[in-house]
């Protein structure tokens, strides 16, 4: 991955009294697949729209390829957007839709025809030139929207929840399709989604956002395995988040029991949050576990079973390929490597505050 292509510096944006983004700093590297992930209202779409030029920030700068483009209108920016509901022009044929940007730029007819062919082939929709936009299925419209954007050879493609309107199977297909496209085109993708699985599947880098602040930036593995706070842990996958105390380096106490861990530097006897992924909880016979519990719920999820185990007053979420029926007495064991310690926020506000890179 290359240099910083887009650099957002100190971006703030509010609508009336409502603060949407507060002093956001973020850079996007060339050829990166970066995903802005967060619940609705977290500011991810606003961030994308600021990059696209559809919103202007109250403070801060947008730097693109070394140039300040904060005040450049969208039509002058070297990037294209794929909108949530595709925004295809329904009064035009597919070919006219794809040709729109090229015609505006005054390209020759031969060039445009070539590009249309190429783009349709790229999105696996050869021969759709003369269809009308609204005669296509959602997935097909989605591909046309992408085709329409990429014929302009943008350096960056912005995608605003583009898979949100598709059904599950189609969504998964399109995820692979997007990865393939990105690799073939070799350009930067900035992707917005609230679906953590989508983010984990496709991204090089994930930016987790909440209430206008960046919570964590990292690779999918990094974000999943080492969430920096309870919000990230909770938002990315399922988690057991248990309040506890850091006795000393590599030793944490929660639910009245001491557990070994690998984290250091939190100080002695400091309140912390402990994150344990459900698949990292091992169910063993009662005598072999660190603490004892009873299975209270059991659901079959396909690849694994999901169980709830009541132990020391906390209901643990456990995923395992082995089934333990409801009522079974079990022991709970966690590998020290799988215990993730996070600083405990003192207040709600602090929970939202950014942890910029």
């Amino acid at each position: 991955m290359g240099n910083k292509l887009i650099d957002l510096q100190g971006i703030s944006k509010s609508y009336g009294k409502h603060m949407v983004l507060d002093d956001l700093n973020l850079y996007i590297r060339e050829n990166e697949f970066l995903t802005l992930l967060g619940p609705s209202g977290c500011g991810k779409t606003t961030t994308l729209r600021i990059i696209g030029g559809f919103e202007s920030p109250d403070t801060g700068r947008v730097v693109f390829d070394g140039q300040d483009i904060t005040n450049l209108p969208p039509n002058k920016r070297h990037l294209n957007t794929v909108f949530q509901k595709y925004a295809l022009f329904t009064h035009m044929t597919i070919a006219e839709n794809i040709a729109f940007g090229l015609k505006i730029k005054g390209k020759s007819k031969a060039y445009i025809d070539d590009k249309i062919k190429y783009a349709l082939k790229l999105v696996n929709l050869d021969g759709f030139e003369n269809r009308m936009a609204d005669s296509l299925s959602g997935g097909q419209q989605q591909r046309i929207a992408i085709a329409r954007a990429i014929v302009n050879e943008p350096k960056v493609l912005l995608l605003d929840e583009p898979l949100g309107a598709l059904d599950l199977k189609l969504r998964q297909d399109m995820q692979y399709e997007l990865i393939r496209l990105k690799n073939e085109l070799g350009i930067t993708f900035v992707f917005v989604t609230h679906d953590q699985e989508e983010a984990l599947t496709m991204s090089d880098t994930i930016v987790v956002m909440n209430q206008g602040y960046i919570q964590q930036v990292g690779t999918p593995e990094n974000i999943y395995n080492e969430p920096e706070n309870a919000f990230v842990a909770d938002f990315i996958g399922d988690s057991n988040i248990i309040p506890g105390t850091m006795i000393e380096d590599e030793l944490v106490e929660f639910l009245g029991t001491k557990f070994k861990c690998v984290d250091k530097g939190f100080g002695n006897n400091k309140p912390v949050d402990v994150v344990i992924r459900p698949e990292d909880v091992e169910l063993v016979t009662p005598d072999k576990g660190t603490i004892k519990g009873v299975v209270t719920h059991l659901i079959f999820k396909g690849v694994h079973y999901e169980m709830e185990v009541m132990a020391n007053g906390y209901e643990w979420l456990v995923q395992s390929t082995k089934m333990s029926p409801v009522g079974t007495e079990v022991g709970i064991k966690v590998d020290p490597f799988n215990i993730q310690i996070m600083n405990k926020p003192e207040s709600e506000d602090e929970e939202a505050v950014g942890v910029d890179e």
């Binding site: 559809f54 209108p73 039509n75 909108f83 949530q84 022009f89 035009m92 729109f100 505006i104 302009n152």
Partner: protein
Amino acid sequence: MKNISKKIYLALIILFLYLPIFVLIVASFNDSKILGNWDGFTLNWYRELFDNASIMNALKTTLILALLASIIATVLGTLACLTISKMKKSTRTIIMSITNIPMLNAEIVTALAFMLLFVGLGISLSFSTVLIAHVTFCIPYVVLNVMPKVSQMDNNMYEAALDLGATPFQAFYKVTIPEIMPGVLSGFLMSFTMSLDDFIITHFTRGSGIDTLSTKIYTSVRKGIQPEMYALSTILFVTVFVLLFLVNYGPSTKAKKSVTTFVFKSKMRVAMVTAVVLIFGVVGYFALKDDKNYIGDLYVYNWGEYIDPEVIELFEEETGYKVHYEEFETNEEMYAIIAKGARSYDVICPSDYMVEKMIQNELLAEIDYSNVPNLQYIGEQYMTSAEGFDPGNKYCVPYTWGTVGIMYNKTMVDDEVNSWSILFDEKYEGQILMQASVRDAYCVALSYLGYSINTLDEDELKEATDLLISQKPIVQAYVIDQVRDKMIKNAAALAVIYSGEAIYMQEENPNLEYVVPDEGSNVWIDGWVIPKDCQNKEAAEAWINFMCDPEIALMNFEYITYSTPNEASRELIEDEAIRNSQIAFPDDAVLSRCHVYNYLGKEGDELYDYYWTMVGGASSE
């Protein structure tokens, strides 16, 4: 069984809805002037329609008005929609309700409100005021049609265009407008249709000289609706029908593509532009044609069908004045317009009592007779009669005159007719037609009782009222226009009628005879007057002088068949029977027992109206 009754029911409904229109369309191709007599198929009425300059002028006004109003309303309405759609939902709902209300509001209320507004603001009614009113009532229809398209449109579409490199203007022109075009087109067509067939609002807001097809049809009913009007109405109906068809079936989902491509594919665009250019071309041709040797404008306000249209053209050619000719249906309607100052005219043709009222209310200017040398051709006796309402002959030059009398059918009445008493004879129960106008009805009763037709004595009026009420059971109907058709078709035996109509009716049905009863009757005079606020007195006097020209008076006499006070003109009548007709030109003995109606004053009018309401004459139609 159920199916058949369903079909019958449907057929009945369609019949109920479209039978009147069907009759109208058939009548427009009927060679006979008389309703109900089928004399064979003809296109004559259509030919006469297109030869009639004043109708073509109204057509021109209607088209320009509808086109301008719908274009302006479409632009304003569409922009409004684009703005409204950006509002908060709560505000949007309120604004949408506000724009919808004018559509449901009673048209007469809207019309009155507009007239009050314009008059109140001191804006004199003109083409612009009609245009403003039309634009206003068209906008809600545009919003109604465009709004759904705007809401349907993906908000991101405009941004997508910007994103692809379009400037804001390009994005608006190439994406937003085409996306909502089906709605805009429907809105435009709907507005065009609404404007095209609007009558009430146009009637109340138009300035002098402005006539649209609908106001033209309305004002021409005074002398009975001419068959050209059936033809005109047919054309209007077909036009509106086609436009509505386009609105409803054009932008349907099925045809959506074809309509959107329709507007933006070059071929159709060319067709549309050609159509617009054609309309403007035709209109422009008419407009230019009018413009030779122009020296000024003259606004004339006259009864409907009360002049030979050719006379107007001759006047224009001879003098160079451009005539804006307007028609009214009753003296009272005209008076309201003039007294309020809503529209100003240069020359008007009211009846005797109305001239008196206008003199008393100082609405008239004295005529400078040095500009009316042709006055010499008007008979002395008529000027004397006119002194009854215009002492000193300062304000009014007689144009037509006549008597009120009885027309009867010789084959249906065997008694000698020389008294009003025959109208109260039960022998003719169901055969009698009365005039549905207060003064004429009371003229009959008061003359019969031997009282003055201008009486203000309550006892006399009461007696006359009782007489009219007791007569009602034997009266077939109180009528205005149908009297002609009914008498000609032998549908009634006796009718109260104006002498002017009698000549024409006699030509159509030789069994009809006209009599001015021995008890006396009304002699009426309609004459030209110049209102005080006239803009071009010189032109008005030129017009009056022109009307007094013997040749011109003859043309008018032959066209409208009401007696002319122009002695020289009477000498020119070729048909001896008419020249010596006792109907058109009764001898002095008849005239001496007739009286003009006087203006009774406000209280007098109210008194007559009060008793007239008790008779309920008009309601028995």
